[in-house]
């Protein structure tokens, strides 16, 4: 087991001055286990706590109670130095490829930035970092001549590839994909999903795939967990969830998923 989330609670306190302290429980005792090499899907509506959980795993937010154990280490007890080392193993690809790349940096600088930040760990010279950046671009299907261009010169799909290249710079083991294709067109989405699968095969990555697109989740994930208002309502192997959902919430969600088959329209035939 690579990641063990054990009864995690995350409470946000209201920061409004003069207001009575209002607490909001974003995660109410969530437990899940992800094994090495797995694609684990995390599904839920907006506000269900998907992104909060992803942020807690990266320790961008601290959890209120419970434990998150990555590869035998409790994240909460790590020293700052150990945490930095661990962060090189857990990386994230963000949802919006337009907002997550600095428009003033060249692609070379964007992709090589993690190598610079973790210089003590990787210890590459500037020249070696450039070489690594061009190697990473090749890995995600871009070319060396793209190194010195800026994000605005790329399409949405290409930008998402750049985001993936940056996430892979430190040879991570675990990749959090936070809605990596929801800003993309279906044809481009297909390219990115194929790329992610190929990378997983080649590099032995473990994925935590956060999405509200059930079609995508069904296609990429081995196991799926459904979150609803901070609680884990159902978790199972992907096909089991889609074929025989056990909870009403799962059934509702699956029924609401619009199928591209016109014969399955809920209303039109009637």
């Amino acid at each position: 087991m690579l990641l063990h989330v054990d009864n995690v609670v995350k409470i946000f306190a209201s920061k409004r001055p003069f207001a009575r302290a209002v607490e909001f429980a974003a995660l109410k005792g969530v437990s899940l286990e992800i094994t090495r090499g797995q694609s684990f899907g995390l599904v839920g509506e907006s506000g269900s706590g998907k992104t909060t959980l992803a942020r807690c795993i990266l320790r961008l937010d601290d959890i209120t109670s419970g434990r998150i154990i990555y590869d035998g280490q409790d994240l909460a007890t790590l020293s700052p130095r150990a945490l930095r080392a661990l962060r090189s193993k857990i990386q994230i690809v963000f949802q919006d490829p337009y907002a997550s790349l600095n428009p003033r940096m060249t692609i070379r600088d964007i992709v090589a930035e993690p190598l610079e930040i973790h210089h003590d760990l990787v210890g590459l010279s500037a020249q070696a970092r450039t070489d690594r950046a061009s190697e990473l671009l090749a890995l995600v299907g871009l070319r060396t001549e793209h190194l010195y261009r800026y994000p605005h010169e790329f399409s949405g799909g290409q930008r998402q590839r750049i985001g993936i290249a940056r996430a892979l710079a430190l040879n991570p083991e675990f990749l959090i994909l936070d809605e990596p294709t929801s800003a993309l067109d279906v044809s481009v989405q297909a390219q990115v999903l194929n790329l992610l699968h190929e990378l997983q095969q080649r590099l032995g990555l473990t994925y935590l795939f956060v999405s509200h697109d059930l079609g995508v989740i069904r296609h990429v994930c081995d196991r799926v967990a459904l979150l609803y208002r901070g609680e884990l309502v159902e978790e199972n192997d992907t096909e089991a969830i889609f074929e025989s959902p056990r909870t009403d919430y799962a059934r509702t969600l699956i029924a609401a998923m619009p199928s591209p088959d016109p014969a399955r329209s809920l209303w039109r035939a009637a």
Binding site: S187, A190, N194, P258, D261, P262, W267
Partner: protein
């Protein structure tokens, strides 16, 4: 006569690098009671087509090169600004993608709805069930009743109380319903919905689509639904027009087009949707990207990415060919006359 008829519409957009030919001969006819889905990738001209119908494309930089947009037989492009104001929000309702930016955050929902209702009633007092001589306060309270009725019809609980709420007190799905209610105030004949559910969760999306569907059944509205979600089209629409780089490449009845797509682009789009049969890692992805419209390909604009491309494709824009009852496709693959020649 169709309610809306777009005939050979050409639109150019000025940019720093020259003029891009962004709509390249759009033909579309929408009848009452029909829900047309307009689909295609980002930048193919879906939204511009929708905006053109209510003439909301700023010009310049836009320039209509030729063609006409007939709403009940009258050309919208030739209408005066005064006449357009009477069409917009009354005969033609619009719903936009982002419900957060399309409501004024500093006014109560009720206030915004009453404003629209009063404005619409200036021309048509019957909307409020009043005569021209009604007093100001009578009109206001009638407008308020109408607002409650509409919020109720789109499924907002306690509509009368919610009139006093501000937009931020509603969730995304609720705000989208408020926008639908707003668009319905003038009892439009045509509703243009530009990605109305893209920002919503699937469960909320299903509710909003259901509301749209019921409205069409009840009022015989015509709807132009702009989206890139083929699932939404399959569930809701009666007809579909597939756009690529400023052209409609295939159009017709939804069951015909989606179950037996003829144009290679439609086929590629449908194949890219992750489905049950697709093998992981082997989704059929369309290679390449949408052409630069400053320098479009000479003939068929899809030819550079098309698996069936042949020399004839560059000879000129392919005409629309009827391939089956209510299904048309712009592709030389189906041009039998040229084959014989």
């Amino acid at each position: 006569m169709p309610l809306l008829e777009i005939r050979d519409l050409h639109l150019a957009m000025k940019s720093f690098e020259g003029e891009a030919h962004v709509l390249n001969g759009i033909n579309l006819a929408v009848e009452r009671g029909e829900i047309w889905g307009v689909v295609g990738e980002t930048g193919c001209g879906k939204s511009l087509t929708g905006l053109s119908v209510s003439r909301l494309v700023p010009s310049p930089p836009a320039r209509y090169m030729q063609g006409e947009i007939l709403f009940e037989g009258r050309d919208v492009l030739a209408a005066s600004e005064e006449d357009m104001r009477k069409l917009r929000g009354r005969r033609i309702g619009m719903i936009f993608q982002d419900p957060t930016t399309n409501l004024n955050p500093s006014f109560r929902i009720g206030e915004q709805m009453i404003d629209v209702a009063l404005h619409a009633a200036e021309d048509d007092p019957a909307l409020l069930g009043l005569t021209k001589t009604a007093s100001r306060s009578e009109r206001r309270s009638a407008a308020r009743r109408l607002a409650v009725e509409l919020l109720d019809s789109v499924g907002i609980p306690n509509a009368a109380d919610r009139l006093d709420s501000y937009p931020h007190q509603f969730s995304g799905g609720m705000r989208q319903r408020v926008l639908i209610a707003l668009a319905l105030i003038g009892r439009p004949d045509l509703l243009i919905a530009d990605e109305p559910t893209t920002a919503l969760d699937v469960s909320v999306q299903a509710q909003v689509l259901r509301i749209l569907f019921d409205l069409v059944q009840k009022h015989r509205l015509a709807v132009m639904l702009i989206t890139h979600n083929l699932g939404v089209v399959a569930q809701l629409c009666s007809h579909v027009a597939v756009m690529y780089a400023g052209n409609i490449v295939e159009s017709g009845k939804v069951d015909a087009v989606l179950s037996a797509p003829k144009h290679p682009y439609t086929q590629a789009l449908l194949a890219a949707v992750p489905g049950r049969s697709a093998v992981r890692g082997a989704l059929s992805a369309l290679a390449g990207s949408v052409p630069n419209l400053l320098r479009p390909p000479p003939g068929c604009r899809f030819a550079p990415r098309c698996p069936h491309a042949m020399p004839r494709c560059d000879a000129g824009a392919p005409p629309m060919i009827g391939v089956a009852a209510g299904q048309q496709v712009a592709c030389v693959l189906y041009d039998k006359t040229a084959e014989a020649a």
